[in-house]
Amino acid sequence: MTQANPVQALDDVHRLLGHPSDLRGHLNAHGPLNVPLGRNGSWQQDLVTSLEASGLNGRGGSAFPTSIKLALARSAGRGGSVVVNAMEGEPASDKDTLLLIRTPHLVLDGAQYLGALCHAARIVVCIPIGRDPVATAVNQAILERARNRYAPVREEIVRPPGRFLAGEESALTNWIESARPLPVFRPDKGAPLRLGGRPALVHNAETLAHIALIARHGAGPFRARGMTEEPGTSLVTISGDVKYPGVVEIDRGTPLWDIATRSQPVASVQALLVGGYGGTWVGPGHFGTPYAPIALRTIGAAAGAGVIAVLGETSCGLAESARIARYLAGQGAGQCGPCVYGLPAIADDMARLARGEGSGEDIVRLHRRLDQVNGRGACRHPDGAVNLVRSALAIFAGDVAAHGQGHPCRHWRKPTSLRFPRTVGL
């Protein structure tokens, strides 16, 4: 399957990518599942300790400490569900898709370990409509596991609609419960999600794969990679003005530039979009920032969905940001006024700016709208859009000045280098 890098040394067993995808190969590489029958208390305690010691946090965008999330779910009762979030609504992200096609057993094992800790009744794998290859691969894996009586907790697949927000965790449980993929207003963030009256523990697919490795091999190998404060590896999808877009597994703490260069940018790079389409543009002065939540936070960015998009010199940052704003405006749930009205208005302002039709007043109004829309939805979707636009206005300030005076750069008409599921006009 891998075209270039074959599976290398022994230490590669501790990485996410490069493993066999069938059950037998998986067991040869990692050993048996080893969840004791009757759920032995000391085994549970050891696993909980390992997860805490590992310092693992969510790889789906929240970066929330996994051990805390687990503790909340465990205290909420038994018989609940472990939900595998493989929705990957972020258009620039492929990592979960890749992981589930290549190593479904690792992800499913991670869910089994959590299921054992929470006394869960079922594992629900959420794969969006339109990603049939992923569903096929996971389905095959589940059947293989069932045939070999391998999985203690029942595993099933559901197919929610492929909308951007359908992967937001409360929207996901809402859809499973009532067929409406709409985020729920949750002012009390500490309260765990519920499904059918029982607790639901929702995790990104990559996080679960890490959990499976930590459970098998302990926290040590996980912590051996990456940084002390931010251990382990992460999957990152690289796209944009590059020759070889794709997914890489990197040690946390790798400088952004070193990650981007692995895909061979086609031109001189003017900015990197870090985190996803709700993420942050980063300028050349910060290309050396380590890829780790703590370091990224100091420059106002976050790892997000594990996305780095490369913007070359021959692209217009404002035009690409305007397209992202337009895309995000169309992907809201339609529930909250500031998002329903505000995001399209912001997208309109950005489009005008990109085309060179904006004025100083437009820019002032745009900033006011960004302030007004931020934080006023039920979920963080508008916040992501605001974050993206604000960082664009800051990083591409030179362009803003020029476009705002009616002199747009000649690149705004160039077709987009970013990935969108349908054509996004300006």
Binding site: L182, F185, P187, C336, G337, P338, G342, Q372, R376
Partner: protein
């Protein structure tokens, strides 16, 4: 200072705007008619109006929180 704060459920809210009429000191409207809430605790003189705003909202979108919750 009563110490109570206003919270608005953005999903339920449909921009009737009665809350902003009753409590302009704490609630203003954005350009699309949706409420922007001042996060500070309410003065006690405003409590009666705040309770009325809670009762009058056709969508039950507004609630009052005391210091301990939220």
């Amino acid at each position: 200072m009563s110490g109570m704060r206003i919270r608005i459920d953005p999903v339920a809210c449909e921009a009737y705007g009665y809350c902003a009429e009753l409590l302009p000191e704490a609630i203003s409207l954005d350009e699309w008619g949706y409420p922007i809430v001042d996060d500070r605790p309410l003065d006690s003189e405003l409590m009666a109006l705040a309770k009325r705003a809670v009762r009058d909202c056709p969508k039950r979108a507004i609630t009052l929180l005391d210091k301990t919750s939220g």
